[in-house]
Every structure is written in C-alpha cells, then in structure tokens.
Amino acid sequence: MPFHDLRRALAEGGAQVATTRPAGSQGRSEEARIRPARLVEHDRLTACPVGSPAACPEPIAFLDGIQRHQVIGYAGAHPIIGAVVAAAVRARGPGGHLHTVAMRCRRLLVGRAAALAGVAPGAHDPVVLPDEEPAHPIRDIDMARAVVDDARTAVEVETGLAFRAERDDWLVVDGSLAESPAFASDPRMLGISKSHATLPFEGPDLVRYLQLPAGHRSSVFQPASHRGAQVYAWGLRLWPWEGRDLLFGLVRIEAAPSPASLAAADAWSRWLLAERVPVSSPDARWDRLLYGIHSVEEYLRAAVLEP
C-alpha cells in the first residue's frame, strides 16, 4: 500500500483515515456546495441511535429510474443526441419477492431545431434545444444531458403517481422527494439520496453529520431548496464508515414536512436499516443502495436497455 505510512501517521495525529471512496457518493462535482439547512429537531445537530433494524410491517415498494444518452450523429456542427429514460416501481410481495407493478419509458431525440429538421424521429420524441447561443458541440451535449435529466425526473414522477393512484403501499424513492410537490407531501413516501454533492451543514455540524456512527441518524432538518418542494430530511448511517470514508454508508432520508415525520424518523430509519440485507452487491454503491432500489435498476436495465 503506497500510502500506508501516511495513513498511519494521520491516524496517530487524530485524523480520520479513509481508504474507500464510495462510488457515486459525490454526485456531480460541479454541484458540490454547502446549502445550510434549518434544524427542526434539537437545538444543535445531534447523532441519535435509532435502535435495531426492523422491517417495515406494511406493504412496501421501490421506485427508481434510469437514463442513457448517446451522441448519435451531427448535422453540421450540431450534435444529435438519442436518449432513453425509464422508471419503474417494484413492490414486495409474499415471501419477500419483488415484482414490477408500474413502469414508464420514454425515448428522446435531442438537438437544435436545425439539426432535428432532417431526422425522422421514429419512436423518439424530438426535444429541441434553445438556439439563443451559437452552436457549440460540447455545450450542446451538456444541455442535452440536462434535458435528459429532467425527462428522467419527469418519468419517475409520472410512474410514482401512477403507482400511488392504484396502491397505498409505502414507496421508497431513489433520490430526492423535493423534485415533485406530490411526492414531497405524500405521507407514505421516503426519499433516499445516495449522493452528497450538496451538504446541509458546515463547520462542527458538518463534522458531526459526516461522522454519524453506524445505526445513528442526525437530527431532522429542513434542507434549503432553491427550486424544489419543502421536505424534512435526516442523515442515516447504514454501515460503519470508520477506516473507509466519511460518506461510506451515509444516506439522506427525505419525508413529508410534517410532525408525523418528525415523530417517526427513528422507526422509519429502523425500516431502512433492515433493508440493508440483502446487500446490493456487486453494485459498487452497495453501502448506500438498498436492494429494492437495486432491483428496480436491474429490471430497467434488462427491460429497457439490453434488448
């Protein structure tokens, strides 16, 4: 180990040693920022033990989405991007087996109007990029990616709402509930964020937040949101992080902003701790990726991307 001696020296100096950068925990690096949140529980950020894992006693389902995009060609200097976005809900049935109960898929063709003019979209929905700025292939691709991100969010919300229209199960959503006011206000939805590009605290609170022991949650807080709906949130450490990385096993839980959420934060955290098994290996994000969410991803990959 080339840095073994350095790590030992750090440890002797009182620093936290890190060895494993949790895959995907950083989110998009360009979005890394501190957005101070408002504590709605406790006077100062506190690490709270949540108790032993206990599986959710009620029907539960998992929602996730996927996206893929590729540059499929150019019209002059304008890139043309093909994309597919999809989302599904898989519900846990008798015997703990998951089965798909809702699914949506959308195929997109993204580009400037001039680029799309000569293309027959077929089964793809054309999405026109704004023409305000001069064409730049790199910038256009970045804009297309943002369009695909939004499309994926939209299809996830659409799928979740379709599920909710039919069933009253608890729904665990991969990502933030703040993307949709309907999600954010749903008393039987929990959002799980695995990436921590945006952090809710700074200073000593941030240290406490990032050093939550395994099986502990943070005080409930209300994230500052520049565009999304209001939610309550708390950090939860699923696995021991010591010796690995500050973000290892750390997820942010979101729930509807209500006193009920405040009261149930421990119980819901225990549910989610129970969802650690089975682990979602071999996915590199297994320390934060619940198996139910992993199963939805696998399903979507096989159903949408592989054929």
């Binding site: 599986a55 959710c56 846990r92 015997g95 703990g96 087996h97 998951l98 129970a274 969802e275 650690r276 098994v277 089975p278 682990v279 290996s281 071999p282 297994w286 198996y291 139910g292 199963s295 696998e298």
Partner: protein, 643 residues
C-alpha cells in the same frame, strides 16, 4: 381448449450456447419443470422437443462474503427482500422438426409436453400409430399435472430388430421384480397380433418373489388410474405353471409355493441322467474339463446312455444305461474288467482309467448335490417342451437349490428353449426369459462359466429366434458388458450412488444421477432405441400378489412326515384323496418304491390319482438300487507321464 402458457424461454449466450443437441431455457421461480421433464420449443419454422437434464439457480450475489457481511455474520438475520433468483434448465434435444438441416435450437417459447408431444418427442409415432402398431405400454410420463403413456416398440423389445430388457437398481427400493411383472403383463396384453404368440419362463431365484403371479394383488386408485391410462387391464396372469424340484426327501417340493390351495398348477421338476449328461459341462469346473474328460463324456452320451451298448470284455449282456444307477453299474463293470486285466489295464477304449474315474466321480456327485432335482433312477418331469402355450408364464423355482443345480437348470432350460425355437416346435413364437440377480450368473469378471456363455449367446443371438432375455440386478456395472450391452431396453430404478459413480454412467448428468439416487418406488428411467435420451416414467404396481404378501396369505405348508407328504402330493392331483387311505397303501412299502410310484403318478396326472398310484405301487417297482459301493481299484501307473 385454452392454449397453455409457456413455462419458459430459450436462452443462448456465448458461455451457454444452444447446439443441435442441447439448449437452455429459463423459467419462473415456481414452475413444474424438473429433471426429466419433456418440453417443446416453438420457434418460427421449427419444432424442437427436449428433455430436461440439468437445472441451475443463480442469484445476483457475486460472492458469499457479501451475504455474510450483509447479515453481520448472523444467519438469523432475515433478508428484507428476497434476492432475485433465476432458474435456468439444460435440456437435451429429443427430436427436431424438420430434421434436416440439423441446426442449433433457436430462441423460442418453451412449453410443457402434452400427450401428442410425448409421442412425437420419443418418436413413438413410428410404432404406436398405423395399421400394425407395435407399441407396448411401459409407463406414464408424468409432470406438471400432465401424464402421457409411453410405449416401447415390440420389434425392439422382443425382436427381431433388437431385443432384451435389463433393469437395475438397489434392492428393495428399485422395484425391479414389480417392474418386470408389470412389463410382462403389458407384453402379454398388448403383444401385436401380427407377431404371433408369446410365453415367458421366469426363474425364481430368491424367496417367494415370483411365486404368486397367478394371484390378484392389492391395487389402489392411483394404480387403477394408471392401468386405465395405459389401456391395460389390471389382472393377474391367467395361465401360470410352476415347476420346482423336490427337496432331498423326494416328496416335498423345494419351494415356498406349497400351500394346498395353490397346488393344482405346481409341479415337480425332475431330471434324470439323459437330461443332465448333455449339460455335464455346467457341473464340472474348469479344472475338471479337459480334452480327455470331454471325449469320454461325449463317448458316454453318443454311445452308451439311452442306447444298447455291448462290450463282451466287460460282461456278456449288453448295457442299457438310462439312469444314474445304470451308469454306476456300467462304471463298475469297467473298473472290474480293468482290475482283472492287471498291469497294463489302465486304458479302456483309449480312455485312461484316471479320466474314467474322474468323470464317474463328478457325475455321481451330481445326484448328491442336486438331490431332489436329479434322480438316480426316476423318469424326468420336465417343462412342456413342444407344448408351450400362448400367454403362459412358466415359473421355475430354483430359489431353494444348490447353486450348481441352479446353473444346471438355467443352462438346460435356456438351451432347450433355443433348440425348440430354432426348430420352431416350441409351441409359441417368442419366449421371454426372466433372470434375476444377473450379476451372479453373468458377472463381468470371474471365471468363464457355461451359464455366462449361454447368457451371452442368448443376448447376442436370441432375438433372431424369438428368445428374449429380461434380466435384473443390483449393480449393472458388475454384469458382463456384452450381456447388458445387448439389452436394447434398459430400465433404472433407485440407484446406489457408488454404482452411479462408475464410468458406465458417465453420460448421465449429475442432476440425472441425483434423481436416480433418490427415485421413488414405482418410477424408472428408461432407455430404448427410439428414445434419444433417457426418459423417466411411472408404472403401476403389478396386479399380482407380491412375494411377501403371498407368503402371508398362502403360508407354505409345513414339512410333514413321509406318508402325509405323499398324501398331500396326491391331493394336489385329486382333492378327494385322504391321508388315511394313503397311509394304508404305504404300510410296509420301501420309501424308494413309493417315490417312484408317486413321481410316475405326478407325471401322468391321472384323474383317479389314488388308483393310479396304487397300480404303480403294485407293479414291478422292484428296488433298482445300486447296492453297497465296492472299492474302485487304484490307477495302475505305467510310468509314462504323458499317458
């Protein structure tokens, strides 16, 4: 009828590609597919039938370590969500349509086989349909709530295309005897008209196994359902004749089928010198048989036994050797003459005295070792050569006799069957011979015995004659390869795992072996020339009383003193015979005279048995015993070591 939904879909990957002989398919986690299931693949322009030979389950877990870590090392921690599990099965292709060009199995939906599929998959359409069908029901292929009759082709079971059936499996669990009894009944009931007549000769080699084939046995609804599905009538064999040697007393039969209610079709099996001499080779071991002994036995058979033989150097009167007693007298005359000749009298008619004495000793020993089967002086009572009847079972019970005598019985009965079938004068066109414990009579290693050579000959040439071997054993690997190799149809019941580890089972998948090692009673794996892969079938219990049940219902008659035993034998011929009347007749008689009279009566089977018996007793019946043995002179040595 609502079309049944598919149970799976073919998958082909680089690591597990489809080939013309094998393919893989996945199913739902809960499906009726298992090892041995016959499936159909519907693909555009092609129809493929296959049989499942292996199964695999996968989960998305990369290494057990993750499962251990996830549960914190505690097996009691339950998974909140059941892991994704995939079931993939390997299937061996049974048939493709069209058959040319032969191509890898394409992707397609997989269905459970129905009746019509089973017929096509096993190529039974070639012989169960048409104007002259030759299908013989062997059992039901059953899976997933479906059940379809499976047929063997009579042309490949009893000839002439191929023949013979061999069944193997562990004792008590493989139901070998039941399977053979059922299969014989199936052959008898469904033997194709155009193939003529058929009978069976069964050797009962242990306990009461085959002693009650004419008695109805208990069946349950499931058995009756299977019989109905196979188009068979659940009934015991209508015509069965039992043959058993006497015990050493010459009166009581050496069989467990001695209950008086069953006596009517149980007959003694008695052979004399003529019957034995032709098979002397069976009785003499390898060391005994040399060219000199062989030549002298041939001399006896050709020139002496059953003929008038004159040699005035022995005595003035000609010899008429018909019995062992006569033969002993003949030998004694030779020894007397050579003794009288003095020095130089060690050769008689080119046969050295040592050779003559050796043959005499061996032949004399036969009546001792096979007492009850071979008689010193009586007439034979034999199987009805030239009068075999269609659909009749002849059971020869050799369970209680000396192994040497068993060998003699096998050799002679099978040889006689072959002789008569060659001459087409047996009375039937085909005979099925059932031999249990084949590894004992045709072992893969050990000495080359007459019986093994005979069984080899039967397995290699019998089909041309209509002589068919149904055989059974615990360990197929211990039987001579050519004997089992010539059995076109092979059945496997519950198998011993050590046996399955032998190279002979190398073509079976581990899953098929695992299934064979745990096969329930009443289920068999079958190989047949028309089936390109082994098939599992279920068969009903035979509609006959099984050995153990038979002994409980018809307990063997206790061995009784001589007069009562004679009375019992006579009552088998005429139920009105009383013990008192027989006792009166026997008063003052010599037992040997009584035996001769009894055997003569049993051979004749007269209506008035007691009167006939009385007449036999009153006639000559003078003792023909050989009297006290006299010493045999020693061999005079000439000093020539090559004499």
């Amino acid at each position: 009828m609502t079309p049944r939904p598919p149970v799976g879909r073919v998958v082909a990957t680089e690591l597990k590609p489809s080939t013309p002989h094998q393919f893989y398919f996945w199913t739902a986690r809960e499906s009726p597919v298992g090892i041995g299931t016959i499936v159909r693949v519907d693909a555009e322009g092609r129809l493929i039938h296959g049989v499942v030979t292996d199964g695999f389950a996968y989960s998305d877990l990369l290494t057990p370590l993750h499962a251990v870590l996830g549960a914190d090392g505690d097996p009691a921690v339950a998974d909140a969500t059941a892991r994704t599990e995939v079931r993939v099965f390997a299937a061996a292709v049974l048939r493709q349509a069209p058959e040319e060009p032969l191509q890898p199995v394409p992707l397609g939906e997989v269905f459970l086989a129905d009746d019509a599929d089973v017929v096509r998959a096993l190529r039974m359409d070639a012989y169960v349909e048409g104007d002259a069908p030759t299908g013989i029901p062997v059992g039901l292929y059953a899976t997933g709530g479906l059940e379809a009759p499976v047929y063997l082709d009579a042309d490949f079971l009893v000839g002439p295309e191929a023949a013979h059936l061999n069944i193997t499996g562990v004792s008590g669990l493989a139901t070998k005897t039941s399977a053979v009894a059922f299969q014989l009944a199936s052959v008898f009931q469904r033997f194709p008209v155009q193939k003529g007549s058929v009978a069976a000769v069964c050797f009962n080699v242990k306990g009461p196994d085959l002693c009650f084939l004419d008695q109805p046995g208990p069946l349950d609804d499931a058995d009756r359902h299977m019989y109905a599905r196979l188009g068979l009538t659940p009934e015991p064999f209508g015509a069965v004749r039992y043959f058993a040697p006497y015990k050493a007393d010459g009166v009581n039969l050496n069989t467990l089928r001695t209950h008086e209610a069953l006596a009517a079709n149980t007959e003694p099996l008695v052979w004399g010198l003529r019957e034995v001499l032709d098979y002397a080779e069976v009785l003499l071991n390898r060391d005994d048989i040399d060219a000199k002994a062989d030549a002298f036995i041939d001399f006896l058979a050709d020139r002496v036994v059953g003929k008038e033989f004159s040699d005035t150097t022995l005595r003035p009167a000609p010899f008429r050797v018909g019995t062992f007693a006569d033969l002993e007298e003949f030998f004694r005359a030779i020894f007397d003459a050579m003794e009288a000749h003095g020095r130089g009298g060690e050769v008689w008619r080119t046969h050295h005295l040592a050779t003559i004495r050796k043959v005499r000793n061996r032949l004399s020993n036969i009546t001792t070792r096979s007492k009850g089967l071979v008689t010193d002086d009586g007439e034979p009572n034999d199987l009805p050569w030239q009068a075999f009847a269609d659909r009749t079972v002849y059971v020869v019970d050799v369970a209680g006799i000396d192994p040497l005598a068993q060998d003699l019985v096998f050799a002679r009965v099978v040889s006689k069957l072959r002789e008569h079938l060659e001459r087409r004068d047996l009375g039937v066109d085909h005979v099925v011979v059932f031999v249990d414990e084949l590894n004992k009579y045709a072992p893969g290693d050990g000495p080359d015995t007459y019986v093994r050579r005979m069984l080899l000959d039967l397995s290699e040439r019998g089909r041309y004659l209509g002589l068919v071997l149904f055989s059974a054993q615990q360990f197929r690997s211990q039987v001579h390869r050519r004997v089992v190799g010539n059995a076109a149809t092979a059945m496997y019941g519950r198998m011993d795992s050590d046996e399955l580890a032998m190279a002979a089972y190398g073509t079976l998948t581990p899953a098929t072996k695992a299934k064979l090692a745990a096969l329930p009673k009443g289920e068999l794996m079958i190989r047949h020339p028309h089936f390109t892969q082994p098939i599992f079938v279920r068969f009903p219990r035979p509609a006959v009383l099984q050995g153990r049940q038979g002994v409980e219902r018809f307990p063997p008659a206790p061995e009784v003193p001589f007069p009562q035993a004679v009375a019992r034998r006579l009552r088998a011929l005429d139920p009105s015979v009383t013990a008192a009347a027989v006792a009166d007749l026997l008063a003052g008689r010599v037992e040997d005279d009584v035996r001769r009279a009894l055997h003569a009566t049993e051979r004749a089977r007269p209506e008035a048995a007691l009167a006939y018996f009385r007449a036999c007793l009153g006639r000559v019946v003078a003792a023909e015993g050989r009297g006290p043995d006299r010493p045999v002179p020693g061999v005079a040595t000439s000093g020539d070591p090559y004499a």
